[in-house]
């Protein structure tokens, strides 16, 4: 298959990548013996080592979502590799690792497995077929008389066998078939089964290498202070004094940041807090988040919203239901703050960072340094969380600009937690008004949603919408499994006063809260059971119905206990969740959460369950505590004391079931999150009779 990118790389190039990659991606220990071993590279993904180990290059970055293991095992299963001898490595930035669903290399939208499932199976099957052919040639038997098992090719007639490593050289001279036979599902040994994560041992022992851990000879470290200084006229009162300190390598001044570069990060970090910056600061917009929130809500009353698809106005009557909701800005707060290592030398730059968007970073760094994109090499260690934040390249650009001032010396830029919290691409604050016409038969016969929000797309790529509406703002509102008869969607466009970006589940993170809270309000207003009400409106979507039915069953929904339910289709998967609150009256706390997910085939059921747990905790943190506020362009929050995370003590018991519908693969990294906030809101209503329409639920519930 042509789009499969089974491109043979030039050997010199591969060896270069291999050695640098081993430094950068430190799961594999970097002993000299391992660097000098001669692996045989079959394509972009698969290499066979002399000791019969199989190395798989995984095209996506490991952020915690498990692709390091899941993508590797897709290859290994088709190849017939012994799983215990498979080693994975994260691909460097390169167009050959473009996700087929995106057309460029990026990790996001829960598309890693969806996009690479077939290409990686094909790669594994193609290499398997030439290994078999090589063995058949040696044994003078037909290839159909050979099979593979645990990294051996076996002669079916007499049981003779040869290691993959013994066949690799012969096989590498054979042409890889473009359309090899794929294994039938019944022969899968790894796909569809839970396998142990390949990265767990290193991550438990402190030996897994993240960007912040990269160590290179002659490396400098940089601490950063963001700002907005007028005309680049930055004066630092104590500059000469700082530059004379032993260990200080320099100060890099840019209109948007100042970096102190030193032999040790601890020195750079200490010094940066002592800078006496005397340049005039640019006037920041006199906007506060509370004023912006008011504007978001007020604009829902305006008549100039943009209507999607020219849908005609809906006539709502007096007994119809209307509710207005809003959510705040949110930071990603990855455990590893933004960090990047850069080395500029001889007109080329090497970058080490766990980026989700290597293609974009490469283009933008090349532009900023005025060099060709192929002079920018990106190597990717493990990322300490991503959630969309590492799709952006601001910190990579900074590292590149800083490193340019120190040619030949790698520079590691580490953002402090304070800089990380205050300089995010925030989940946008959004307000929405939902309306429904309710029938005597207990159904919704017309539905409208107005969304007052800034566009992430338009802010980051100005002009991209060409004046049209941003449809991505409606995920979870205009593509639900519910049928309403008439429907209308309106966008009230806003300009965000702070940077905004993709946050886990993007628009679903807020729209599911609006939609699923509103479904609950409609059901209660009609005196109906909220779960049954959803089933009634999803008559033609059996996948939606079965996750709802499953979670009802798991939670004992019909017992009549005060529970909250929500069900959301996102990223090709369906997730229904039920929340039961704790009895503690002084605070809102989820005691138990039941979760039913249908993501098509679960390539790794254990991994799917882990991602559901992850989405639930991430979403609970946002629902209970998440809120970024600002005044005059300055973010009020700075660290975990004022941007609070859910603690272990507040973690509910979570039970997840996978519903196997046999449908096409869906995503799992994001779909676990959207239902939790509305399920919690609906549980609060069920238990305490209070309808909370604004996140976070920080109200005193007494």
């Amino acid at each position: 298959m042509s789009e499969n990118r089974l491109i043979k790389l030039d050997r010199r190039e591969l060896l270069k990548v291999g050695s640098v990659g081993l430094l950068g991606v430190g799961l594999t220990a970097c002993s000299p013996a391992e660097v000098t071993r001669e692996p045989i590279h079959f394509d972009s993904f698969i290499s066979i080592l002399p000791d019969n180990k199989i190395e798989v290059v995984v095209p996506d970055v490991e952020l915690g979502q498990g692709v390091f293991t899941t993508l590797a095992k897709i290859v290994a299963d088709e190849l017939g590799a012994d799983w215990d001898s498979v080693e994975a490595r994260i691909a460097q930035g390169s167009a050959e690792f473009a996700n087929p669903l995106k057309g460029y290399q990026a990790t996001g939208r829960s598309q890693a497995v969806q996009g690479f499932y077939t290409p990686l199976r094909t790669a594994g099957a193609a290499v398997r077929s030439i290994l078999i052919q090589a063995a058949a040639n040696i044994w003078s038997v037909a290839s159909t008389d050979c099979s593979v098992q645990n990294s051996y090719v076996i002669c079916n007639q007499d049981g003779r066998k040869l290691r993959f490593s013994e066949l690799a050289e012969d096989a590498s001279s054979l042409a890889l078939p473009e359309s090899p036979d794929l294994k039938p599902q019944s022969e899968f040994k790894l796909i569809g089964h839970t396998t142990k994560r390949l990265d767990t041992p290193a991550k438990c022992r402190g030996s897994a290498e993240y960007t912040i851990d990269v160590q290179l000879p002659g490396m400098l470290s940089a601490a950063i202070k963001h700002g907005a200084w007028a005309n680049g006229e930055i004066q630092i009162g104590n500059e000469a004094e700082i530059l004379s300190m032993p260990g200080i390598a320099g100060i890099v001044k840019r209109p948007e940041f100042i970096a102190v570069v030193a032999e040790k990060y601890y020195q750079a970090q200490k010094v940066i807090s002592t800078l006496r910056v005397t340049a005039p600061e640019m006037a920041t917009p006199p906007v506060t988040s509370s004023a912006y929130r008011t504007k978001l809500r007020d604009d829902l009353d305006a008549s100039d919203g943009r209507v999607l698809d020219d849908a005609p106005p809906i006539a709502f009557g007096v007994r119809d239901l209307e509710a207005t909701y809003s959510v705040p800005f949110l930071a990603h707060a990855t455990m590893e703050p933004m960090t990047c290592v850069a080395r500029f030398d001889d007109g080329a730059i090497d970058i080490w960072t766990g980026t989700q968007g290597p293609a974009l970073a490469q283009t933008e760094i090349a532009k900023a340094l005025d060099i060709a994109p192929d002079k920018v090499s990106i190597y990717r260690p493990f990322a300490g969380g991503g959630f969309g934040r590492r799709f952006f390249f601001d910190y990579c650009l900074q590292a590149a600009l800083i490193a340019r001032e120190f040619p030949g010396r790698p520079v590691k830029l580490i953002w402090s937690r304070e800089e990380d919290t205050a300089n995010d691409y925030y989940r946008p604050a959004v307000a929405a008004r939902l309306r429904s016409r309710l029938t005597d038969g207990g159904m919704i016969s017309a539905f409208s949603a107005q969304v007052s929000a800034a566009s992430i797309l338009e802010q980051n790529v100005p002009g991209v919408l060409k004046g049209g509406p941003d449809r991505t703002l409606f995920g979870g509102l205009n593509n639900t499994p519910y049928e309403f008869g008439e429907a209308r969607f309106v966008w009230h466009e806003q300009i965000s006063p702070v940077r905004i970006g993709m946050w886990r589940a993007v628009s679903y993170s807020q729209n599911a809260f609006f939609m699923e809270s509103f479904m609950d309000e409609c059901a209660h207003s009609l005196g109906q059971d909220p779960a049954q009400f959803r089933l009634e409106h999803a008559q033609s979507d059996p996948r939606m119905r079965s996750v709802i039915e499953k979670v009802m069953d798991m939670s004992g929904w019909s017992d009549g206990r005060p529970l909250g339910i929500a069900a959301v289709k996102s990223y090709g998967s369906y997730v229904a969740q039920v929340v039961e609150l704790s009895d503690a009256s002084e605070r809102i706390q989820a005691k138990r959460v039941w979760c039913a997910v249908d993501c098509g085939m679960a390539v790794d059921p254990g991994g799917v369950i882990a991602q559901m747990e992850s989405g639930i905790i991430y979403g609970l943190t946002a629902a209970l505590y998440g809120e970024i506020t600002f005044e005059n362009g300055r973010v009020d929050q700075s660290n975990f004391h004022d941007y609070r995370m859910l603690s272990l003590l507040e973690t509910p018991e979570i039970e997840t079931a996978i519903v196997d519908s046999g449908a096409a693969l869906g995503g799992v990294g994001e779909p676990g999150l959207p239902p939790i906030a509305p399920a919690l809101a609906n549980a609060i209503f069920a238990k305490r009779g209070m309808r909370l329409r604004e996140l976070p639920f920080k109200l005193d519930v007494n």
Binding site: E62, L63, G64, Q65, G66, K196, R197, D199, T200, P201, K203, C204, R205, G206, S207, A208, Y210, I212, D213, Q215, S221, K264, Y265, Y266, Q269, K270, A333, T334, M335, E336, P337, F382, A383, G384, G385, G386, F387, I414, S416, R417, E418, G606, A610, E613, S614, G615, I616, I617, Y618, N639, F640, H641, M645, L646, S647, L648, L649, T651, E653, I654
Partner: protein
């Protein structure tokens, strides 16, 4: 039992016992232990998360007690230091096997700190229940591995 002091007579270096070995750093005395471990001794398993002692990613043991090394000046160290690299090879083993059995880590960045905290907890108290664990471990995990952490500590408590 080694006796350690802050700055020596010359006032320009600090002696430490790290993972059983004598180490010397020239870092100023108020430098957080975290960065001395990471930058001067190459012990990068101890992570920077918040710098204010809240998240616990930087947890190490000093004289057997869990300390958040990002907020602990190197001059204040008064006992032998053990980091995840050392703990993993010693009494952390039952905890790590439980972690591996349940495949706890996701991004993994907080996990060395979690394992240091769990190991210390198990030293203190063998007969643990879920509530004890939830009360005792206050480290932050952003990926939401909390439920598996509780299960893994319970499992480890059976094997200690």
């Amino acid at each position: 039992m080694c006796h350690l002091q802050g700055a020596d007579d010359d006032g320009d270096h600090v002696e430490l016992i790290v993972n059983g070995q004598k180490r010397i750093t020239n870092a100023p005395g108020d430098t957080p232990l975290l960065w001395v471990l990471r930058e001067d001794f190459g012990l990068t398993g101890t992570k920077y998360g918040c710098g204010i002692g809240m998240c616990g990613a930087c947890s190490v043991r000093i004289d057997g007690m869990v300390v958040r090394s990002c907020s602990f000046g190197v001059e204040n160290v008064s006992g032998p230091i053990e980091t995840i690299e050392h703990i993993a090879e010693n009494d952390g083993e039952p905890v790590i096997s439980a972690w591996e059995e349940l495949d706890v880590p996701q991004c993994g960045y907080c996990q060395p700190g979690m394992i240091v905290a769990a190991t210390a907890l198990l030293r203190e108290k063998k007969d643990l229940d879920e509530a004890d664990i939830k009360e005792a471990i206050t480290n932050i995990c952003r990926c939401g591995t909390y439920s598996r952490i509780v299960k893994a500590v319970l499992k480890a408590s059976e094997n200690v």
